[in-house]
């Protein structure tokens, strides 16, 4: 065995030596194709920039506080709401709705995607109704859901789950179907039983699709939450904002919006972190 063969492949450089040396001898400052190296905490730069514009604009007096409350006022209001015990319970109620809706939606979406992705009959039965649901906005379904399930928590969680189900289904199904056909051939030559084929080839192969769906699902879960909390709710962040709108409390509305934004950003980050850990075997432009 020569050194060429035994040397462990470097994580970033392709095993072809010409490519490696060509890269090294390239003149400095020349732009490389591909997005390049990852910026540490790069995903925070955009939101921070936006925040900066808001702070600067308010400090300079360019933004009318009646239109958009200054950030420090928002912080102050948030603190007051928290201290008087008005924010905490609402936040908790919202978080619970989000978590339950997301869980049920993900489970339902996954089951439907697997049924429809692995069998032609399953697809024939499941795919049509899901596509129909996809083209009907949750907002349009709401009156019917209200009639069916009342105005209690059940209706809210079902509504959120219905919104979550769609992206999970679409992307997991797509992930299942776009697995390289050669892996199926390979599994055949290994004589894998159907159960092992599903568990060890199909599901891991569909994980990238599932995670993409998960990112849409998390956002969609928050969106549905806003909708259900502003229609017929008596608690939750959305209800708090609705009430504030009635009394013209711009600062409270902004507190609600910022909370939604923060929660959305945090949950998306969590999904991304898990995705990165689980999908270490994938080498894409992202890394």
């Amino acid at each position: 065995m020569t050194a060429v063969e035994t040397e462990p492949a470097r994580a970033s450089a392709p095993p072809h030596d010409e490519a490696a040396s060509g890269r090294a001898s390239r003149p400095r400052g020349k732009r490389r194709l591909g997005p390049g190296k990852a910026i540490p905490f790069g995903y925070l730069i955009g939101p921070l920039l936006l925040l900066g514009v808001w702070v600067w604009g308010s400090a300079q007096g360019w933004i009318d506080p009646r239109i958009l409350t200054a950030p420090w006022t928002v912080v102050e209001t948030a603190w007051n709401l928290w201290e008087t015990g008005r924010l905490g319970p609402d936040l908790l109620v919202s978080a619970r709705r989000f978590a339950l809706g997301l869980t049920f939606g993900v489970l339902a979406g996954l089951v439907l995607a697997i049924v429809s992705g692995l069998s032609r009959w399953g697809e024939a039965v499941v795919d049509g109704p899901v596509q129909i649901k996809r083209s009907i906005p949750n907002l349009a379904l709401l009156p019917l859901l209200l009639l069916w399930f009342g105005i209690d928590e059940r209706m809210k969680i079902i509504t959120i789950a219905l919104g979550v189900l769609i992206p999970i289904y679409i992307h997991t199904h797509n992930g299942l179907r776009s697995i390289d056909g050669r892996y199926a051939e390979l599994s055949e030559t290994l004589r894998l039983r159907p159960a092992s084929f599903v568990g060890r080839v199909v599901l891991p192969g569909a994980l990238p699709g599932f995670f993409l769906g998960m990112r849409f699902a998390v956002t969609s879960s928050w969106l549905s939450l806003v909708v259900v909390e502003q229609v017929n709710a008596t608690s939750g962040i959305g209800y708090m904002m609705l009430l504030a709108g009635t009394y013209g409390q711009t600062d409270v509305i902004i507190v609600g919006l910022v909370l939604y934004a923060l929660l959305g950003l945090i949950s998306d980050t969590i999904v991304r972190v898990i995705q990165r850990r689980v999908l270490t075997w994938r080498r894409t432009l992202e890394d």
């Binding site: 065995m1 063969e5 462990p8 492949a9 030559t189 290994l190 894998l192 039983r193 060890r200 075997w281």
Partner: protein
């Protein structure tokens, strides 16, 4: 000439374990006037423990032939016999599951046969040692070089414990140096385990370097054009004069065949 030789070989080989006998194999794709005949009456008998290289221009149906032997596709006519024994197969690309570790990729071949966990682990370690990859058990395929990945694929094929090993251009994507080393390794393993190897390649020198026999296939439809017995001592060097000479004459025959179809 090929036919009589085939008949004689079939008689000799009988139905010994490790033997593969192809008789008038036909493969057609599609129906009616649009049908394409990929293979047209391919007869070949592979003796147990022999190393046979299938050589031909791209699109001559040599990979198709291998899939038929592997049972991945149905034949349209003729017969393929390999005494009900399992065959192992090794591909050029996508030969490993990227989400499994090296050990996981090897073990999955044993899992289906109901081999217990401890035994699986031990056997995988042995096989990785055989292909000289000790210490890489917990790496993922993307962390390995192309040559190392093919070593893992070879270890997995061996884990299937089949006496027949089908290889579809397994070293086609590797650089010359790595390929050269893997030729030595494959030859060693083939001898140690008395495997029957069917090896598809479009590289003439590689075929002469490795094969006891080199079977030259014609293109569209695929037929056996000629069979060359390679009577040279092993191990052979791919750059030695005898290998180069035989390769040159086979290349001439191949070139004639390719130009007959205008490329």
């Amino acid at each position: 000439m090929t036919q009589t030789r085939h008949a004689a070989r079939v008689a000799d080989t009988a139905r010994a374990p490790g033997a593969v006998v192809l008789t008038d194999v036909v493969k057609r794709y599609g129906r009616g006037p649009g049908a394409v005949t990929a293979l047209d009456g391919v007869s070949l008998s592979v003796e147990p423990g022999s190393f046979t290289c299938l050589l031909g221009a791209s699109g001559c149906g040599k990979s198709t032939l291998l899939s038929l032997v592997a049972g991945l596709d149905d034949i349209s006519g003729g017969s393929i016999d390999h005494v009900d024994q399992p065959v192992a197969m090794m591909f050029q690309e996508s030969a490993l599951f990227p989400w499994l570790t090296v050990a996981g990729n090897v073990e999955i071949a044993m899992r289906v046969r109901g081999v217990g966990r401890a035994e699986r682990r031990q056997k995988a370690a042995e096989l990785l040692e055989t292909v000289r990859l000790t210490g890489f058990a917990h790496k993922r395929p993307h962390e390995l070089s192309g040559g190392m990945r093919q070593r893992v694929a070879l270890a997995r094929a061996l884990a299937q414990d089949a006496s027949v090993l089908l290889m579809d251009e397994p070293f086609g994507a590797l650089d010359a140096m790595t390929r050269d080393i893997l030729h030595d390794e494959l030859e060693r393993i083939w001898r140690e385990r008395s495997l029957t190897v069917l090896f598809v390649t479009h590289n003439v020198r590689e075929a002469v370097r490795l094969g006891d026999r080199v079977v030259l296939l014609s293109s569209r439809p695929g037929r056996v054009l000629n069979v060359y017995d390679v009577e040279m001592d092993r191990p052979r060097r791919i750059d030695s004069a005898p290998v180069a000479n035989l390769a040159a004459s086979i290349t001439d025959a191949l070139r004639e065949e390719v130009s007959r179809h205008a490329g």
